[in-house]
Amino acid sequence: MKATYNWIREYVPEFRGDVREMCERFTMSGTEVEYFEELEDDFVIEFAVTSNRVDCLGVLGLARELAAATGLPFVPPRVELDESGDAAGAVCAVGIEDLDLCSRYTARVIEGVKVGPSPDWMRERLEAIGLRPVNNIVDATNYALFETNQPFHAFDLDRLQDGAIVVRRARKGETITALNDKDYELDESMLAITDPSGPVAIAGVMGGAATEVGDSTTRILLETAWFEPLSIRATSKKLGLASDSSFRFERGIDWGNIDRAAGRCAQLIVQVAGGRNRRGLVAAQGEPPVGRVIHFRHAQVERITGIDIPLDRCIEILSALDCATVVDDPARISVVPPSWRDDLEREIDLIEEVIRIHGLEALPVESGMRVMTVQEGRQRRIQGIVKDVFVAAGFHETLTTSFLAEEDAKACFFAGTAPLTIANAMRKDENALRQSLLHSLMAVRKTNQDHGNEDVRLVETTVVYLAHPGQIIPQHLPIVGALVDGSLREARGVVERLLVALGIADAEFVAADEDGSAQLDGEAALTLRLSGGAVLGHLGRPRREVVERHDLKSVPVYLELRLDRLGEAADLEPKYRPLSRFPAVVRDLAVVVEEDLPWAEIARLVASLELADLDSVDFFDEYRGKQVGAGKKSLAFSLTYRSRERTLTGDEVDASQARLVSALSDSFGAQIRA
């Protein structure tokens, strides 16, 4: 909403501050000034009027606010109209068929106008607030609209059949050519202004071209009315047609202001276009809105704001806002808000008015809030540890959006369902909610490929959305997804380190289950599960279609884990285990085995032997080559023996090693490599 400094000051003549002070007053009392701009001899000010303050969409409303905020008198323009001539009712008639959509309709008639350009002062003000001057009649109605916040419409009375207006719902199939020269088809949900020939205006939205004021117009029928907000909004939306009038009607204008505003507009028309006002208003109406009484308990002001604003001051503020107050009981006064303040319904609304005008600056910085302690929730702790471990391992945390193309959103590592789709998606490739981070991180990998970034490590924690039948709120599954340019071992190493950080000792990698192999490629894919069977996540290289879908030149490793299950399994309080004071004996071993023997088999065999005082078994190398022969590989690992009670002898360890070597030979035909 734009207005000018001089225009506002016209109605608060005692305001002596400059434009900056005016803006500051508005901003600090709740009508935010977005900016102001200097004109030749005025300033235009752009206001961000809040949605509850329809009354401030007019200059008079803004001036009333300034007056209340400064305590200065508000002086609206005087309406002086010659009412001595013939009655308007002799030349026109109005009727309302649908009172639910129009509760008051009035017409004034001005005769003998001369259409032409409006005077400079009017043109300048209209241009300052962004309107294009048209002719003196249109300009006067626009000027009056922005002054009074009441929309008007001027018909050429001679082009209205019989001067007989009926306000009614349009009939299906009725059409109208509006002032913008476009044709609109109306229906029964829309309110129309009609004469015996049919619709002459789309009520509250736009007038019709057929009854438009033109150069030859001499007699004006000035419409001033109240239309039901929801109906105007629906019509405007349905027709894709909005105007300064519909903008105000759909927010609800002041019923109590109609007649005064009509007089003011007629006065302006006579002032700029000459002619003479016919006596009286021709009006039809339904039930007028009833005013309300709000009980205002003074003690509540301090209970809500924390400061004691004396009752006298409260009454002063409310009166400045044109609320009528009756002090029958000082503890509980009665307040009747003015007709233009439909937003004031409850005591709390009045408390807001009091503190708003009194000034929020008055609040001291002091507080007696009770002391409360907080604990970090377990799930957040888990999420924090997971992020820390990945970042410490060189991963960069990403932020990707929750939306994917529906096809990609089907991917899920944890018993997915059909993805939830967005009814009003803005883009086709972002029309569904994801069930995995796979495609999001693959897309990020592609972005980085395009930017020439190599050796990429990405991690993200998020929730994904699984819509199970019968649930209103779908499952929000917390997960971590990570992508590594590198080997499976590197990715697996990070997961193993994470398990240590979370104190999860009984998790194992097994061949990928159905969910894992649905997204990951072939035999190298793994599923991580607890010994009890619960699946924690999956790790492997994405399937070829996924890699091709994202146009990647190399295949990264992807892993995804459930944070909820990690949280349930985690033991976040490490316990000390005593250290042995005795030295360790370390023996390295390299064995040549069949190419396809997995390391896990050897590890399992070593464990099954239960070698005395064996502390750890550490794989360190795998080798293929001429020296070991075709179809074979060499696996090297070290065994650490250590006792808690004594120093081990070489002979004891040698005996264990001998058992191991013969078991390896028996089970796998392994040969010791010198």
Binding site: R303, L360, M369, E397, A423, R457
Partner: protein, 336 residues
């Protein structure tokens, strides 16, 4: 005699200063080697009288033994330095970077904001991003005909569900399940169908604070906000509340922080206003309390909501919101 004493004093003090094996060896060569001062002293014997010779000789021998012992002791105390392999290192080469990743700037900002609020006794709470109309609108005092509910202002899902347009929904969920006193801070993603440009995105983050108790007032709200922002920007932070309108709070206000770049004089960061808009706040509307079954005559409360993206963009000087979701490594690596 004095030359013996001088030699002893100089040698021992130099030995004291020896810091490594190499310097120790140099010292040994200098004092105990074939051309050292001991040999010089021995050479002086021939110029002495027969009576003086044995005395002087004994003194020199004693000095020599003393220096040998001191050398041995120093060698022990230095320890046997492990041998370095290969060529000498070039200390002017740039350091080898350890492989450490980075946290996303939104994560960093969020963590900082949450920790400020946690230190004030606010507990982190989270709620679903997919919501029903009750939690996103009705309970927040947004009636069915409110413009915020019109199509195009929210992402709609089937079954009268939608992606939440504000984290205020978490207020409702927490109040439904708990009784006052409570103090929560709810971080999370929110969604609005805005066209993506340099300063808008359809998905962004907010944190929402809520306190409900007997006797809470706007003074407590203001004090909490000051403590929060001074935690983020330093103790000399200046804030102002200016009246505004939100359906779920009343009285409502916008909270501004005096621009830290120009100290309020007006600059490009604050668009010449001297103040930077941080978010909305206010006292919980009685209708919200009624929706969750709290008695507004017994309890009062305050709430505030602050956008994370704008805050992070200002803090880190990020000019375009799209950089945050593009995830270019050259960008992410800057927040180490």
């Amino acid at each position: 005699m004095s030359s013996i004493e001088n030699t002893r004093a100089t040698a021992l003090s130099e030995l004291e200063a020896v810091a490594d094996a190499q310097a120790l060896e140099q010292w040994r060569v200098r004092y105990l080697g074939k051309k050292g001062p001991i040999q010089d002293l021995m050479g002086q014997l021939k110029n002495l009288s027969p009576a003086e010779k044995p005395v002087f000789g004994q003194e020199v021998n004693r000095l020599k033994q003393e220096l040998v012992a001191a050398h041995a002791a120093r060698k022990d105390s230095l320890g046997s330095a492990p041998k370095r392999k290969g060529r000498a290192e070039d200390p002017t080469l740039p350091g080898l970077p350890p492989r450490i990743g980075t946290y996303h700037p939104i994560s960093r900002m969020m963590k900082e904001m949450l920790s400020c609020m946690q230190s004030l006794g606010f507990e982190v709470a989270e709620g679903p991003e997919i919501e029903d109309e009750f939690h996103n609108f009705n309970a927040l005092n947004i009636p069915p005909d409110h413009p915020a509910r019109s199509e195009g202002d929210n992402f709609d899902l089937e079954g009268n569900r939608l992606l939440r347009s504000q984290t205020s929904t978490v207020q409702i969920r927490v109040m439904e399940s708990r009784q006052p006193p409570l103090r929560i801070i709810a971080p999370g993603r929110v969604y609005r169908p805005d066209t993506v440009d340099a300063s808008h995105h359809y998905m962004f983050h907010q944190i929402e604070g809520l306190a409900v108790d007997r006797g809470l007032t706007m003074k407590d709200l203001k004090a909490t906000l000051i403590l929060f922002f001074s935690g983020l920007f330093g103790e000399d932070v200046d804030i102002r509340l200016r009246p505004n309108f939100f359906p779920f709070t009343e009285p409502s206000a916008e909270v501004d922080v005096r621009c830290v770049f120009c100290k309020g004089r007006g600059c490009s960061t604050c668009q010449q206003k001297g103040w930077i808009e941080m978010g909305g706040c206010g006292m919980v509307d009685p209708n919200v309390f009624k929706a969750v079954g709290y008695d507004p005559e017994v309890y009062t409360g305050f709430a505030f909501g602050i956008g994370i993206e704008r805050m992070a963009m200002r803090r880190f000087g990020i000019p375009d919101i799209r950089l945050l979701t593009e995830n270019d490594l050259r960008f992410l690596r800057q927040f180490a």
